[in-house]
């Protein structure tokens, strides 16, 4: 699946998007896989309360299932308007 990062999450991880091959069942499982990869991921995901997630471009919870999902995005709380 495609994993996208925005704002300071993108800066900490160092890329705006990447293709990830995963069997993760939920967003939380995917986060755990990414954190285990490298320190930059571990740092970016260290406080989930400061992060939001979108699954296939819709806001979701960290326990959202990933079966059939094409795109997951992680970002800080939005500041539009």
């Amino acid at each position: 699946m495609e994993v996208l990062y925005f704002a300071w999450v993108r800066e900490r991880i160092g890329v705006p998007r990447e293709h990830v091959i995963t069997q993760a069942a939920t967003v939380a499982d995917l986060v755990a896989e990414l954190r285990a990869r490298e320190d930059r991921y571990d740092l970016a995901f260290s406080d989930l309360s400061s992060l939001r997630v979108a699954v296939d471009q819709e806001l979701a919870d960290f326990d959202a299932p990933l079966a059939g999902v094409r795109e997951v995005a992680f970002f800080p709380p939005m500041t539009g308007g």
Binding site: L4, F6, A7, W8, A54, Q57, E58, L59, A73, F75, P76, P77, M78, T79, G80, G81
Partner: protein, 147 residues
């Protein structure tokens, strides 16, 4: 309904005039415009706005559709810019058309409250001393509870 996520500036007068035309059964048009505000202590050189192409348009459209339904609007418009803006520039606008002013005003507030914390935009303030991502405010999240 018009939704636009764009880098270029918009002409508030022209957009408002066009929006207000052609609604013979709508007695009230409300527009709100957001401006890049300078910082009092550390002058702002620029504000950079990042967004999530695809999700942004869908989120704005969803909010506008909800507003139309909830406030019986005849029409709704949302324009939001991204990229690098300087103080005084217009960031975004909403416009609502309703039969009476109460619905038009409330729908504009509804749209603004949702835009603040449910549209995937992120702002970064750039000053002479550095740059910082704008943090979301609890009051913006709290504002949604009234709807």
């Amino acid at each position: 309904m018009r939704i636009s996520v764009q880098e270029e500036a918009f002409d508030l007068g022209a957009v408002a005039t066009e929006f207000a035309s052609g609604h013979k059964d709508m007695g009230a048009i409300v527009t709100f415009t957001g401006i890049v505000r300078d910082l009092p202590d550390d002058p702002l050189q620029a504000m950079e706005i990042e967004h999530y192409p695809g999700m942004t348009e869908a989120a704005l459209r969803g909010m506008a559709e909800q507003a139309v339904e909830r406030f019986s609007l005849g029409d709704a418009l949302v324009i939001h810019r991204y990229g690098r803006l300087v103080p005084g520039e217009m960031i975004m606008m909403v416009a609502t058309a309703a039969r009476h002013r109460k619905d038009a005003f409330e729908a504009a507030e509804f749209l603004m409250d949702y835009l603040k914390s449910r549209a995937p935009f992120w702002k970064r303030e750039i000053t002479a001393t550095g740059s910082e991502w704008v943090e979301s405010k609890d009051e913006d999240e709290d504002a949604l509870t009234r709807w």
